[in-house]
Structure formats: structure tokens, C-alpha cells
């Protein structure tokens, strides 16, 4: 069994009357000649790294390489303790806090799980962990959602790039959000087709996003962008669960992303030679580093 497109992944899941995560798990076990239990165990290890990163980032002021970020999650955490109960329980607020926490831990040379890259490592954990808490889901369920995310990202990696240097931030934040959106749909009880729709609408809305990090660091705008992308992914999953479909199928959105990435000028693809990276403030930051 194998899949090279989102359509194939959905068809396999539908034919077996199961979810995307199950197909992804089966294929991985087959390919790597491991048992499903072993594959689950490896992913559980990743889940635990994600939890630790969120925990650490929420509680600590983090020293980063460039010192441009480090206390964003802490600030949100403090703000929410003084905010109303409904604000505290708001799933979006949890997600953005968790995404910032992880992205800051990453910027401070802490341990994270790249997904699909280190720069956007905050998105998938934020969405999966916040939904898990909200619905008191077991770790096994969350691990399954990580398989959904991984399988969707795997298809992109076969067809397109996942590197900001080659495709711009759409290939990192866009794909990270799309993976998280699909995972959120399955966690929330949606069908494989809905997961593909959530993936497609999430990616569509981040097409064209450029990669213009200040001083070449994974700090500005990357850390805050993780939070926006997490909220974005959740929004996409809600639309898909309501039966809202993507007019353009997921596989065609991936093709569009590649085309846009190819046309994007090099100065906006992780070279720090354009966009935010060449603003007067950014240039001063670079000089002072």
C-alpha cells in the first residue's frame, strides 16, 4: 500500500472505512518494517517532547540567539490569568499560547519536534494539544492526530518543497497549518474527506507567504507567525467539519504552492535580502547583533 497524493490517501481511508491516521500508520509500519506498536511508540516520544516544550515555554522567559523574542507565551499566560473565565477557556487563546511557547523554546536552542520544519514547530503541537485538553483525549488519540499531520505533510514533501529557502514561508507555515488543520478534523471526529478539505483551505489561505526573517534568525516574524498559523488551522478545521468544501482540491493547491514558490523572488526566500529583513529597524538589529 502506498499513497503519493492527498486524493489517494483519502481514497485508501474511505475504502477501508477508516481514518487517514490509520492508513499513515499502516504504511509507515510496512515501509520501515516495524510493528504498528513500535511506530506508535516513536510518535508518542515526539508527543512528549512537544508537551515538554509547551510547558517550558509557558513558564519561562527564554534567552534566544538574537534576543528578539522570548517572553511572548509568558505574557499571554499572565494576561489570561487575569482575564475572564471564558477568555481562559477559549481554545484559540490556548492554541496561540502553546504555539508561541514552542516557537520560543525553538528559538532558544531548546528541544522541539520539527513539523515539518523547526521554524514552524509550534503549529501542530498547539492545535493537537489544545484540542486534546478541551476534550480530555488520551495520548493515543493525540498520537493518531500526529500521524494524520505527518501523512499529509509527507504528500507535500513528495510533490513540493518544505523549505523556506526554496518555497517561501508558505512551504513552512502554510504546510504546517494545513497539516494541523487535517489533524484537527480527525481529532474532532471528521471524515478523511473533511480533513483533506481543511488541509486545502488552510494551505490556500497562506499561499504566497514570503520568508523574510530579520537578521536571518528564526525569531521575527517566525515566532508570532506560529501562533497565527495555529489559529488559522483550527478555523479551517471548523469550516471543514461544517461541510464547507475547498473548491480547489488539496493536490491542486499543492501544485499552486510550488508554482508560486518558483515565481517568488530569491530575496523573499530565506535570504534576508528583502521584505521585513531590510526594514530600517531590521537592518539596525542585524548590525547590533
Amino acid at each position: 500500500m502506498e499513497y503519493a497524493t492527498i486524493k489517494e490517501l483519502v481514497s485508501l481511508a474511505e475504502a477501508a472505512e477508516t481514518s487517514i491516521w490509520k492508513i499513515v500508520l499502516q504504511v509507515e509500519a510496512e515501509e520501515e518494517e516495524m510493528t504498528e506498536a513500535e511506530v506508535r511508540k516513536s510518535m508518542l516520544a515526539n508527543l512528549n517532547v512537544m508537551k515538554e516544550a509547551v510547558d517550558y515555554g509557558r513558564k519561562n522567559n527564554i534567552q534566544t540567539g538574537g534576543g528578539l523574542v522570548g517572553d511572548e507565551a509568558l505574557k499571554l499566560e499572565k494576561y489570561l490569568t487575569t482575564a475572564s473565565k471564558s477568555e481562559q477557556n477559549n481554545i484559540y487563546n490556548k492554541m496561540i499560547t502553546y504555539a508561541l511557547a514552542t516557537a520560543e523554546v525553538n528559538a532558544g536552542m531548546g528541544k522541539i519536534v520539527a513539523g515539518p520544519t523547526a521554524g514552524v514547530s509550534g503549529i501542530v503541537p498547539a492545535v493537537v494539544l489544545a484540542i486534546g485538553e478541551e476534550n480530555s483525549l488520551s495520548d493515543q488519540k493525540l498520537v493518531e492526530a500526529l500521524f494524520t499531520a505527518a501523512g499529509l505533510g509527507y504528500v507535500v514533501s513528495r510533490k513540493a518543497t518544505l523549505a523556506g529557502a526554496a518555497g517561501g514561508c508558505q512551504a513552512e507555515c502554510g504546510v504546517g497549518a494545513a497539516m494541523a488543520a487535517g489533524a484537527a478534523v480527525e481529532l474532532r471526529g471528521g471524515s478523511p474527506r473533511m480533513a483533506a478539505d481543511a488541509f486545502a483551505v488552510a494551505l490556500k489561505n497562506l499561499l504566497g507567504l514570503v520568508c523574510d526573517p530579520v537578521a536571518g534568525l528564526v525569531e521575527v516574524p517566525c515566532v508570532k507567525r506560529n501562533a497565527f498559523a495555529a489559529a488559522h488551522a483550527y478555523t479551517a478545521s471548523t469550516m471543514a467539519l461544517a461541510g464547507i468544501e475547498s473548491v480547489i482540491p488539496a493536490d491542486e493547491v499543492i501544485m499552486a504552492m510550488t508554482e508560486i514558490g518558483d515565481q517568488m523572488p530569491t530575496c523573499l526566500k530565506e535570504t534576508s535580502r528583502g521584505g521585513l529583513a531590510v526594514t530600517p529597524t531590521a537592518l539596525k538589529i542585524k548590525q547590533d547583533l
Partner: protein
């Protein structure tokens, strides 16, 4: 490709290419050297040179030279740990020709100065790496599969001897590259395998006449 390359690896941030890849390059150099490193000269090229400090590229390479994996928290304090372990090092900038933007040149020495190793390696995205030069010879070494690096006398039949030994242990060769600088001198081959060789295989290769050196490089 495994899905754990997409939802993973677990690693020390901030960048899969500039940190995780850098650590793997250091570790690969250590494995190739296979001796206690007394002194390491690390030269950074391109984007590696431009953003080394902010991305911890320098610390990650030194950590790799100490044997740390990309998810080892000790990467952060590798400079201090290198001192404790008695490994001298220097980080410099270099401009290399026709290489990937994320490239490092690493030169290692042992205490007796009897041996040194010079490699050029690039971090090619998502933490994946490629060693492109070992001691002046062009190679292509990625560490994505269990790999053997063998130096042997360049003579007819030598490659056949090596592959038969592997075959006799039921080790399947996935990819193989052979190189040499001058006819009749030292040949080198890089063999990527589906299976891990055990110590018996390595000993058998080492004991074979005309094989000068065998290095086993586990999947990184």
C-alpha cells in the same frame, strides 16, 4: 522516506538546516575520524557563516564533534564541554567554490598529529546532510542508510572482494560509489546498505588483504 522526517525529528532548535544538520555534520566528521579529536578547525561558508551565532550552528557542529545527536540538550553548552574533554577548536569563516550555501569545512587532528581528516559537508534542508569531500576526494555521503567507507589498494578485483564479503553475510547493497585519485594507488568506496553490518563483517573486511581502512557509519 519515513513520516518521522515530516513530523520530526525531535531536535534542538532553532533550525533544522542550521542546527540539526550542523550537529549531524559534526557527528559524521567524528565517525569518519574514529580517533580522539585533539583539535578541530571548523570553517563556515555562506549562510552558515552569516548566521552561525544566532542559529547555534557553531555550537551544534562542536557538539556533533563531541558525538551528540541533534536532540541532545548538551549541544547548547558544547563549547564549554569541549574544553572539559580537552578538545581544542576554532571557528573561522571561509569562502568555498561551487558549494551549497550551508556548508562547513572541518579539519580534525589527533594528539600525536599523526593523522588528520578534512571534510567538506553541506546541510541540504530539513536536517539532511551531504558530505561532498573527504581528504580532497569528491564523495557523496548522506548517512541516510547504514554506510561503509572503505579505503583499499586500487587493483583489479578489489571491489569484487568487498561486495562478496557483504554478500556472504546477506547484506544487500543499495548504493555504491567508488573513487580514486590516481591509478594503482588508494581507492575508496562508499557503500550504502539496506542492513546493518555486525562486527564480524567489519572485522572480516578489515582483515582482508589490501583493505587499508574500514569505517562503519550508522544511519544518522
Amino acid at each position: 522516506m519515513s513520516i518521522f522526517e515530516i513530523m520530526g525529528p525531535a531536535m534542538i532548535g532553532p533550525s533544522s538546516s542550521h542546527t540539526a544538520g550542523a550537529a549531524r555534520i559534526g557527528r559524521m566528521a567524528k565517525l569518519l575520524f574514529a580517533d580522539k579529536i585533539d583539535r578541530a578547525v571548523v570553517k563556515l561558508h555562506g549562510s552558515f557563516a552569516d548566521t552561525a551565532v544566532g542559529h547555534g550552528t557553531d555550537r551544534a557542529i562542536i557538539g556533533g564533534l563531541l558525538g551528540f545527536l541533534p536532540d541532545d540538550q548538551r549541544l547548547r553548552s558544547s563549547f564549554e564541554l569541549a574544553e572539559t574533554e580537552g578538545m581544542e577548536f576554532s571557528i573561522e569563516e571561509v569562502k568555498l567554490r561551487e558549494v551549497h550555501p550551508n556548508t562547513a569545512q572541518i579539519i580534525l587532528y589527533n594528539k600525536e598529529k599523526t593523522k588528520n581528516l578534512e571534510i567538506v559537508a553541506s546541510s541540504i534542508g530539513g536536517g539532511r546532510i551531504k558530505v561532498t569531500e573527504i581528504n580532497g576526494s569528491t564523495v557523496e555521503l548522506t548517512g541516510r542508510m547504514p554506510t561503509l567507507w572503505i579505503l583499499h589498494q586500487d587493483r583489479p578485483g578489489e571491489v569484487g572482494i568487498i561486495t562478496s564479503i557483504l554478500g556472504s553475510y546477506k547484506i544487500n547493497i543499495a548504493f555504491m560509489q567508488v573513487y580514486r585519485n590516481r591509478k594503482g594507488e588508494i581507492g575508496s568506496c562508499i557503500i550504502e546498505m539496506d542492513d546493518q553490518p555486525n562486527q564480524d563483517v567489519i572485522t572480516k573486511l578489515e582483515n582482508s588483504e589490501d583493505i587499508l581502512q574500514v569505517r562503519y557509519l550508522p544511519r544518522i
